[in-house]
Subunit: 141 residues, 2 copies
């Protein structure tokens, strides 16, 4: 199937690493002037992180991410202040997109069960100046 | 006016610093499998940057940002590889939100004319671990 001129990517979230999930949510609410605390939370075992999805627009989110334990892949990032970490897009077939992108992006987390029991993977741009270097792909629900 | 429990913030874009705007657009299109090049571009004089708005979802964007000249505020960031830089929200009144947020955030770019001739400002979180540290506010159209 030729995917070159289709555009099946749908932006899902921006991932932000924090030290403390609840503190981050409180501060974000304070920033927005919001009292809402009814946000989706989950422990994503494969990545050793607790995450919270805070709606950004319809169907898109900020994903606050707190590492659980020093062997979480994002532990060091969180200890260096945390911050903006990756962009995540929903796709029909994670494996297929990895194959399509393998010339330009390096697979750094192979397909595994992630958020909401969906297959996910992380890719990193091989270009030094791609700007949006770290990308998560997750399968559509 | 009590803004504490209102939520008038509307996510507008994520800013990504790049060395070369056109190269970044090409790579992003390649990533998406898109041939579209009809993106809004502008030179934002006050920040000494060229920007391009690539639609993310309805009314939200990736803003690719290329510094123009070594005295652009984001020149060094671009030379250190660039990447995810800030989140931008539309608000009714930039000055009013700055006043509301001044206890928790430091004003680092005072209100000035920015993108699309709209008043904009940059704030930086005073907390060490707010995660979403650098925020742009722009007035609604």
């Amino acid at each position: 199937m030729n995917k070159e001129i289709t555009n099946e990517f749908r932006f899902h979230h921006i991932g932000i690493i924090v030290r403390d999930l609840n503190a981050a949510i409180d501060r974000y609410n304070s920033f927005l002037g919001s009292n809402n605390h009814e946000y989706y939370q989950e422990f994503v075992r494969s990545q050793k992180v607790k995450v919270c999805l805070v709606p950004l627009t319809e169907g898109t989110y900020i994903e606050f991410i707190e590492p659980i334990g020093t062997n979480s892949p994002v532990y060091n990032f969180s200890r260096n202040g945390g911050g903006l970490h990756h962009l995540c897009y929903e796709v029909e077939d994670v494996e297929e997109e990895i194959q399509r992108l393998k010339g330009s992006m390096k697979l750094i987390v192979k397909p595994v069960t992630g958020l909401q029991n969906r297959i996910m993977a992380f890719l990193f741009s091989k270009s030094e100046e791609i700007g949006f270097s770290l990308i998560e792909l997750i399968e559509k629900k």
